[in-house]
Each structure stands twice: as structure tokens, then as C-alpha cells.
């Protein structure tokens, strides 16, 4: 087993070297790791119960009271605890939406690319058509139609943003399927499913991984926006987006309530975007875009 994991080390080593040179990506990875850890350990890190109301303790400023390190909101709830638990919600939605996006996109892309012909034409026209609708429009309409649960929000975000992934995967498969190892599998009598998922898909892993990372960023962004508009995560469950909705009303007097969730969203999105960019450069120099 040790030799098996040692085998791709040469390749992995080279990729790691390329990735390490990308300082912003390293920083992005660090931020992402930190966010994931804080979301995971939110119950232990939170100084308070995020839903605990105490109107006597409204609008505490940050750094004034050790019980409420980042102050309290209009209902006296601890901002830090709400940010931590809100992060849990936002990252969960982001990850589930990403998985939905990647699975749908990969499935459609690999089917279109491998089967080809009329199937390819129909699927790609469907992708083109979906892309004619501005994503926010599509997202909001569907989000307004389905009852907002964490799962439905994630699925709606995922199902309105897979088109790009399917194009990436299809292009990769079109290139891969002409290679002789696919012909070898066919000569052995391998089924279509085996060729698609055992032979081709692992070879498309790099662009899929890059797309997945970037998709977490956009899903977090989308979730925060629809939650801000009231069609996403519903109170009392905190999400960074719906924290902003409430904060908007106290803008002139307690601006930190609006600043903090925004900073959290920005950090998350920037973190995942930088990480994805670095991964792209490291895994696939062909896709490189920036220095």
C-alpha cells in the first residue's frame, strides 16, 4: 500500500511545488482551512448561544465586553457566536451546492462528450439555453418557489450553476476519449459506464477540482445574496446573508453589524477564489491566466 501511495509522489511533489510558489493561493488555503475549522468547532468556540436574546444587552459595541467580543445585535444576540454559526450554515450551503453543481455538471459534461452525436447536441443546446438566463434571476425565481430549507437552498444554487462545469468536463472528455487507453478499454469489452467513470472521469479530476473550489466561492456568494433578500436561510437560523438584512436598518448608528458579516463573506469568497486560482496554476498549467 505504501508503494501505491508513494507512486504518484513525483507528480504530487511537482504540483505541490508549483502551488507553494503561489503565495496568494497559500494564503487562500490558510483562510479556507481556518474557516472550515471555525465552522466545525463553532459550538466550542462560541462564547454564547447564538439564538439567546436579551434586549437589555442590545447593540453592545465590539471589544467592550469580554462576554460579547464582537458586540451584540438589535436583539442582544452575541455577534461572534452568530458569525461562527452563520459560517457553519453558509459553508454547508456552499459545499452542498458545490457538490450538486459538480455532480450535475460532470454527469452532463461526460455524457455529452462521450456519447456525442444527437445526445451531445441536445445537452449542449440545453446548457446554452440555461446560460441565456441571468443566474440571479433563475436562482431567485426558483428560490421563491420552493420552501427555503438548507437543503433546498443548496440544491437550487447547485442546479442553477452547473453549466460551466459541464462545458469544462465535456471539453476535457472530448480530448481524452480519442486517446488509445480508451480504445484499449473498448477492445477489452468495457461497458460505456466503466469507460466513462473508471477510465475517463479520473483523468478529468484536475479541472473538476479547480471548478469545485471556485464554485464554493460563488455558492457562498449566492447564498448570502438570496438570504439577504429574504429568500434564503430563514431567521432565527443565522447566515451571513440574513445577518446583513437586519443590520441594514441600523446602518447609521451601529455599522459594525453590517461590516462584520460582509467581511466574513468576503474572506470566504476570496479564500476559495485564491485557492482555486492557485490549484488551477498548479494542476493544469494550460489553464493558467495570471502571473
Amino acid at each position: 500500500m505504501s508503494a501505491a501511495s508513494a507512486a504518484p509522489e513525483g507528480q504530487a511533489g511537482r504540483i505541490w511545488k508549483r502551488f507553494r510558489r503561489h503565495r496568494l493561493a497559500l494564503a487562500g488555503g490558510f483562510v479556507v482551512a481556518l474557516l472550515l475549522a471555525s465552522a466545525l468547532f463553532a459550538p466550542f468556540l462560541s462564547p454564547q448561544d447564538p439564538t439567546l436574546l436579551d434586549t437589555a444587552l442590545r447593540f453592545r459595541p465590539p471589544f467592550a465586553d469580554w462576554r460579547f467580543p464582537l458586540g451584540t445585535d438589535e436583539l442582544g444576540r452575541d455577534t461572534l457566536s452568530r458569525l461562527l454559526f452563520g459560517g457553519r450554515v453558509s459553508l454547508t450551503v456552499g459545499l452542498v451546492a458545490m457538490i450538486t453543481t459538480v455532480m450535475t455538471g460532470a454527469l452532463i459534461g461526460i455524457t455529452a462528450g462521450f456519447i456525442g452525436g444527437i445526445v451531445d447536441t441536445l445537452l449542449m443546446r440545453f446548457v446554452d439555453t440555461m446560460l441565456c438566463f441571468p443566474q440571479v434571476f433563475l436562482l431567485l425565481v426558483v428560490a421563491a418557489f420552493v420552501p427555503p430549507t438548507l437543503l433546498s437552498i443548496s440544491l437550487v444554487i447547485g442546479l442553477t450553476s452547473w453549466m460551466e462545469v459541464s462545458r469544462i468536463v465535456r471539453a476535457e472528455i472530448l480530448h481524452l476519449k480519442e486517446q488509445d487507453f480508451v480504445a484499449a478499454a473498448r477492445a477489452l469489452g468495457a461497458s460505456r459506464a466503466r469507460i466513462m467513470f473508471r477510465e475517463l472521469l479520473p483523468n478529468a479530476a484536475a479541472p473538476i477540482l479547480v471548478a469545485a473550489t471556485l464554485k464554493v466561492a460563488s455558492a457562498v456568494l449566492m447564498e448570502s445574496y438570496i438570504s439577504y433578500l429574504g429568500y434564503g436561510v430563514q431567521p432565527p437560523l443565522a447566515s451571513w446573508g440574513n445577518m446583513l438584512t437586519n443590520a441594514q436598518g441600523y446602518f447609521d448608528t451601529v455599522p459594525w453589524l453590517a461590516i462584520l458579516p460582509g467581511v466574513a463573506i468576503t474572506l470566504t469568497v476570496v479564500g476559495f477564489n485564491f485557492l482555486g486560482d492557485g490549484l488551477r496554476d498548479a494542476l493544469d498549467p494550460r489553464l493558467r491566466m495570471d502571473p
Partner: protein
């Protein structure tokens, strides 16, 4: 050229049909169906709903409903609003100028700024400026635009009191250009942020590609001055991907306009969309979906034709 235009027109037809199918399908997803606004209203009797169904043709089989709706779409009959019973197309077209003004001004800012930053970055590749610009662009793409808008209101409208926080005119000053421009600044800034970043990234890579071509080296060897080389040789060749970007970017522009309009209360189509969402005005929602989709299809068509005009090779392939 005519053959190319014809071919592109033919390719747009399945997109249009697909778009109407998706739009129609979504409408069926609405809880309580397209008449939710009536069925959920306790003051309306069952018989009345049946009557309304017949008026709207909702008692007919689904494919006939689709055909009726789709043909209406192309003959200008986009249905009527639930509240007020106004023609949907009129309501949308009323809001179109505000959105076009916002998108146009943001796009102009983005193209001028993004193109200059991108070209400079490409010419001085790996310079401090280039690294800062590309990093900054990635940051800009990661900003939650709506939060950026809120912060802009906080800083420029609430703290500094330089600019109005929302709307299109000051009350009683409708038609005053100066007031309009003042109101335009913040939404434009917010919408332009992301597009500028996209433009700088794309123009940078488009120019990097062109700058390393043989004909650029030849021009340099001939002793052509740098600015002339850039204008005469690089620009026409880098234009193609940038025109394509113009077409591809349209849906994002609409999405961005929706965000900016909701934050700043800008009375455009995006604002209309969010308001319609809140009031369950399904005919307006569907109308807006179809309007933007058709707009995007036509935009892409025009971009492709423009590319073919710039680059004769495209016409033949």
C-alpha cells in the same frame, strides 16, 4: 457574410425555443400554479377561480397552453399583471431605460478602466503594477457586490454625505440631469466593480497572446513606435475575444444590475423583478425572465456578427 449571419440566426432558433420551454416549465413550478395569487386568496370563490382558469386558458392541455403562451410571446402579448391588469410588456419596457442607462454607464466605465489596466498589465507583464492589478481584480471578483453597495452607501451617503443613497432623482427634481448623474454614481460604481475586474483579466490575456505574435515582432523590427504598434496591430487582433466577452457577459450584467438596483432602489428591471418576486407577480417574473433571455440571445448574435466583421476567418469556419 450573409451565409454566416443566416447560419447564426438558425442557431439562435433552438435557443429561443429552449428558453421558452424552460421559462414555461418554471412557471408550472410555482406553488399553487400560475394562479396562486387567486387560489390562496380566501375571498375568491372556487367558481370564480374556475372562471379565471377558462379566461386564461388554463383548462386546456398543457402543450396547448404552452403554444398559446409562446406565440403570444412572439406577437407581443406577454399577458397582464395580477395587480392592475396592465400589459406585462409595457411594465417591463417602462423600466428598460433605467436599466440600460445603469448597465451602459457601468459598462463604459468598466471597458475604459479594465481595458487600460489590462493592456498596461500585458505590456508591463510581471511588473509591480501588473501583480497588483491582477491580484486586485481577483479581489474585486470575490467581493459580495451587494455588501460592497451597502458599504458604499454607508461611506459616501451616510458618513460623508457626498451622494444620495438611492433612487434615480431627488423628489420634485425629475428630469434634472445633474440630480440623475448624482444618483447614478454609486450604482454604477458597484456594478462596474466586477465587470472592470473581468475586463482587465480578459484584455490582459488577450493582449498577452497578441503581443507575442510574429507580426508584432515584425512591426517592432520595422521601427514602428510602441503606441502605433499597439493601436495599429495589437488592438484589431485582440478585439475578437473582447467582443465575444461583451456577448458572454450580458447575463452577468443583468444579474449585477439586479443586485445594484435592489441596493440603491434604482427603478429598473432588476428592481421590478425583486418587487414582483415579493408580490408573487408571476406574469411579470416570467416576462422579465424571457425578456432578459431574448436580450442575451440577440446580444450574443450581434457579438458574433461583429466578430465575423472584424475577423474574416470566422465567417468561413
Amino acid at each position: 457574410m450573409i451565409g454566416f449571419v443566416l447560419r447564426r440566426l438558425l442557431q439562435a432558433i433552438p435557443l429561443l425555443i429552449g428558453g421558452t420551454l424552460i421559462g414555461f416549465g418554471l412557471m408550472q413550478l410555482a406553488p399553487g400554479g400560475p394562479l396562486a395569487i387567486y387560489t390562496l386568496n380566501p375571498t375568491i370563490q372556487v367558481q370564480d377561480i374556475e372562471r379565471i382558469k377558462i379566461i386564461f386558458g388554463l383548462d386546456q392541455p398543457i402543450h396547448l397552453q404552452y403554444v398559446k403562451w409562446a406565440t403570444g410571446l412572439f406577437s407581443g402579448n406577454w399577458g397582464y399583471t395580477f395587480f392592475g391588469g396592465r400589459p406585462v410588456l409595457d411594465v417591463i419596457l417602462e423600466r428598460l431605460p433605467a436599466t440600460l442607462l445603469l448597465m451602459g454607464s457601468a459598462l463604459s466605465v468598466a471597458i475604459v478602466l479594465g481595458l487600460s489596466v489590462g493592456v498596461l498589465g500585458a505590456v508591463k507583464r510581471y511588473s509591480v503594477f501588473d501583480v497588483l492589478a491582477t491580484t486586485g481584480a481577483l479581489f474585486a471578483l470575490s467581493f459580495p457586490t451587494f455588501w460592497f453597495g451597502l458599504m458604499a452607501i454607508f461611506i459616501f451617503a451616510i458618513q460623508l454625505r457626498w451622494l444620495p443613497s438611492g433612487g434615480m432623482w431627488e423628489l420634485g427634481e425629475e428630469g434634472n440631469i445633474l440630480s440623475l448623474l448624482q444618483h447614478l454614481v454609486l450604482p454604477t460604481m458597484v456594478l462596474a466593480l466586477v465587470i472592470t475586474a473581468t475586463w482587465s483579466r480578459y484584455s490582459r490575456s488577450a493582449f498577452l497572446e497578441v503581443l507575442h505574435q510574429d507580426f508584432m515582432r515584425t512591426a517592432r523590427a520595422k521601427g514602428m513606435p510602441p503606441v502605433a504598434r499597439l493601436l495599429r496591430h495589437a488592438f484589431p487582433n485582440a478585439a475578437k475575444p473582447l467582443i465575444a466577452l461583451l456577448g458572454v457577459e450580458l447575463p452577468f450584467l443583468f444579474s449585477g444590475a439586479l443586485v445594484a438596483e435592489t441596493i440603491f432602489g434604482w427603478p429598473g428591471m432588476g428592481r421590478l423583478f425583486v418587487d414582483a418576486l415579493g408580490m408573487k407577480e408571476y406574469p411579470v417574473l416570467m416576462g422579465l425572465m424571457m425578456f432578459t433571455a431574448i436580450f442575451v440571445i440577440i446580444g450574443n448574435l450581434l457579438a458574433d456578427i461583429a466578430i465575423a466583421l472584424v475577423d474574416p476567418r470566422v465567417r468561413l469556419s
